[in-house]
Subunit: 362 residues, 2 copies
Amino acid sequence: MTSFTVTADDMDAIALGGAFLGTGGGGDPYIGKLMAKQVIAQHGPVKVITADELDDDALCIPVCMMGAPTVMVEKLPNGNEAREALAQLEAFLGRKADALICIEAGGLNSTIPYAVAAATGLPLIDGDGMGRAFPELQMVTMTIHGVSATPMVLADDKGNSSVINAISNKWTERLARCQTVEMGGAALVALYPMSGAEMKRGILHGSMSLIKAIGEIMTSERKAIRNPAEALMKRLDGKRLFTGRVVDIDRRTVGGFARGKAEFKGMDEDEGRSFTVEFQNEFLICRSEADELLAVTPDLICALDADGGMPVTTEQLRYGLAVTAIGLACDPQWWTPEGLELVGPRYFGYEHDYAPLHQMSR
Amino acid sequence: MTSFTVTADDMDAIALGGAFLGTGGGGDPYIGKLMAKQVIAQHGPVKVITADELDDDALCIPVCMMGAPTVMVEKLPNGNEAREALAQLEAFLGRKADALICIEAGGLNSTIPYAVAAATGLPLIDGDGMGRAFPELQMVTMTIHGVSATPMVLADDKGNSSVINAISNKWTERLARCQTVEMGGAALVALYPMSGAEMKRGILHGSMSLIKAIGEIMTSERKAIRNPAEALMKRLDGKRLFTGRVVDIDRRTVGGFARGKAEFKGMDEDEGRSFTVEFQNEFLICRSEADELLAVTPDLICALDADGGMPVTTEQLRYGLAVTAIGLACDPQWWTPEGLELVGPRYFGYEHDYAPLHQMSR
């Protein structure tokens, strides 16, 4: 891995790759892309550096949006809340950040930090806390490594803000989630302030390069009028879960999350079969008609439009849409007992133990 | 008005008077009394000063408990959260408080500040923001006078805390209430940091002297084996609303509040009649069997045990309890359009305009 520079043009690929790794959630990266493009055009490109380029005693801060992706689509950030959240956290800490990092490798939260990095001139670390997207803020590898999510700042579009100090990252999630709901379902936040040393131990490395590479594969495949599914599966050691059309979609915004279930009727080689995918912001579990498990969190369930080859988020699921679902193995840190306690199927209320994607029959 | 000193022994009268003016809410002052007695015994008495004794550029901070009184009875504060909330607000402001003040003249919140004052050695202002108790934090005369409730600090018994900065006092209520619910239904808070000048303009004066005087009347009447109702009505220009026994009580904790309705069967001179009182933490509206309005917020509805003469809080209401309900006129500031918008009957969802207590037939 080496450091690289991200221009406004690069944001197209990054938004595509982020939407794919966002596993259906994380919000539509289109908004974050527009924000980042505009700010980069104004302030110049963003430098993405590898974790080891940052000093051990430097200050690294993740900045992201928190809330239900369904809300984020209708309630656009005005672009200042993220910088406001960062500035307030810096003021609280009495120290300026030396680098920014994405909390997750997916959706809006892998594009918004580029806008903040461009505006502040800070470098962005090539890494993140999830290697995908997850719905709750304690669901990051930093939690496994004992990094506190607080002090954390939330800022909304109206000018409200708060600073949380909590005894655990799960408590931070509770106290921040309720305020996110009150703030209208979405807020911009700065949290997990880390030293360079904590960051190097705590994060997953290389996610920004990976997102860009995924986006570039998607772009070149689509230019060649090929669905990117095959090329992506090859590059990422992915597994085709199914191809099918949405026949039913049930979604609701509950407790600040977009929750729901989509049913698919198999098509092409899956003709005659049926599949369900359940989600809480992100796709969490994929089952076949016989209740056979095809993929389950923390492994990634990524969806592509079977016709156009574009990534599909949960809020884009609609009756009749043809989807190719692809499974990807998660980072091995999530396979540990600590990892599965944070993001395994039982945390989300499913009566399944985690079963690795590549050990499943299909 | 002159300044005075409050000893541990004085806390008995103050707790009684606070429970009476607490209009059924504000939590059982017994807990706050015990806390205050213990801290005063350890650190010495509390000096209560008149507002004009504080410099205009001094810093005055209200400290109180926020949440459902029903919860406070079961979840005792450990005594440090209030000081923690104050210390965090001071740290955030970069300045130490010069005086404390009660946010409301009722219940726990007119006793806890004595404990904090004794522990910190700070004087307590002879005044408050309500002249009674109200359920929501924007319901103070400081709101009418343009004082911001934020920065505000919340602290819980587990060690969690947060600092809120909001665009209005109503927004502060929303963002603080949801965290109070998450924190287990009650939190200790420091808010409305005010200059001496803002405090002098914004508060209601003399409430601490009044509470102590009410408590002393109650104590001396009860010593003389008289129900204090008559003496209190005389001293406070109060109006007897009814005497009756609880025949039905419906209560639930909703959205962090104790809400409910009590029905009473008239006794003595009210034999044959019936009455209802509705509450949200505090008693808000009192009606007779013919739906005739007897008293309505912001006027005070105070309840005394008809047998023992002790103040009755909503959580003490139980089948068969005999109660004398007394109406008191609120401070004239609450009669203004701004006042009624904050605490009038329509804010609480009642289809009544405010009608002053002394203009009603009974």
